[in-house]
């Protein structure tokens, strides 16, 4: 885990420098965002919680690297993406995974579907749809998975995803394209 460093970023100003000086406020604001991304990436609540802690701890310890010309969210998400990348290599978490499984059942997550004033039948169909997407997303290769989550859960555009993941925008597009293709296949949309 210690191999993950808080990256230096130099992108367009989106958040005032003073925001990160009040780190408690930063944590309050972005904790749910980082946790959501990590949970969606790992499907493991304990791991997501641990890595969220790690993410903010790293950000805090390396806060001097944040030069203020980047979005705090982008910076935190860069750290989070690196943590996910290193997750498989993290022996401590592997140990905890073995001793205490907290994997979240995708059925549980798929229950969190807005009813949108739909009929019970439609709600059931929607849950099935959501479960299929979660299942398909989980089966994606890591990069495709990350790009998909950043695009469709975190609403980031391709350029921002490129900054967060450190890969070229064209490559991000290719990953997203393949991810969508797999999702559609899983949904049964492939003719």
């Amino acid at each position: 885990m210690e191999s993950v460093a808080a990256p230096e970023v130099s992108i367009a100003l989106e958040t005032p420098v003073s925001t990160i000086e009040d780190f408690d406020a930063v944590a309050r604001l972005y904790w749910p965002v980082v946790f959501r991304f990590l949970f969606a990436s790992l499907h493991d609540r304990d791991a997501a919680e641990t890595l969220t802690q790690d993410c903010f701890l790293k950000a805090y310890r390396h806060r001097e690297r944040f030069r203020g010309d980047a979005s705090v969210k982008t910076w935190l998400m860069q750290i989070a993406v690196n943590l996910v990348r290193d997750y498989a290599r993290n022996r401590r978490l592997q140990f905890w995974k073995r001793t205490r499984s907290s994997k979240v059942d995708l059925n549980e997550v798929s229950q969190f579907v807005p009813d949108e004033q739909s009929s019970p039948e439609e709600q059931t169909l929607n849950r099935e749809l959501v479960r299929a997407v979660w299942g398909a997303a989980a089966a994606l290769p890591e990069r495709q998975h990350t790009v998909l989550l950043l695009r469709y859960v975190e609403d980031m555009d391709l350029l921002e995803i490129a900054r967060v993941t450190g890969i070229k925008e064209g490559t991000v597009k290719a990953h997203l394209f393949r991810a969508l293709h797999s999702i559609r296949e899983r949904l049964g949309g492939e003719e």
Binding site: W31, P32, F35, N126, F177, G189
Partner: protein
């Protein structure tokens, strides 16, 4: 466009890359319109489920972070390391001291043993009883050293 959108075109649509022709086709073609709508709905519900689920669970995490707590944690960690280092030094020092003391004790015992053995050797190696030693020195026993030291007897 008379043909349906290809899977690639639908994926491009989802990524926001669509031509005017695509839009026109999706508007007019119920099959493609339904497919685009289905995938869009799936992705939208996927996002909502992720957000709602984490929202449901995030309150317990919101109060986890405290910068002061982290600072305290860093200080505590430093103190723990210092204590651990000190403990290590003490624990490492005890065996070293014990080994040193044992060595000294053994050296003293060896010295006593050696002195005793030397004394025994000296006692054992006497050729004549102690009272006769001065007399024994006068006898040559074939030793050149003794004969030179002592006056020779006349025949």
């Amino acid at each position: 466009m008379s043909r349906h959108l290809s899977p690639e075109q639908i994926s491009c649509w989802m990524m926001g890359e669509r031509t005017a022709q695509d839009e026109e086709h999706v508007r007019d073609c119920s099959t493609c319109g339904a497919e685009v709508n289905r995938v869009e709905t799936a992705l939208r519900l996927f996002q909502r489920s992720a957000k709602d689920w984490s929202q449901e669970h995030s309150p317990e995490f919101r109060n986890v972070w405290s910068t002061e707590g982290v600072r305290r944690g860093v200080r505590t960690l430093a103190l723990r390391w210092a204590l651990a280092g000190l403990t290590l030094l003490v624990l490492a020092g005890i065996p070293i001291q014990t080994i040193r003391e044992r060595g000294q004790r053994e050296a003293r015992a060896n010295q006593i043993d050696t002195a005793l053995l030397e004394q025994v050797d000296a006692e054992v190696s006497r050729a004549v009883p102690a009272p006769m030693e001065p007399l024994a020195r006068l006898i040559t026993w074939g030793s050149t050293e003794t004969t030179t030291d002592k006056p020779q007897t006349s025949k």
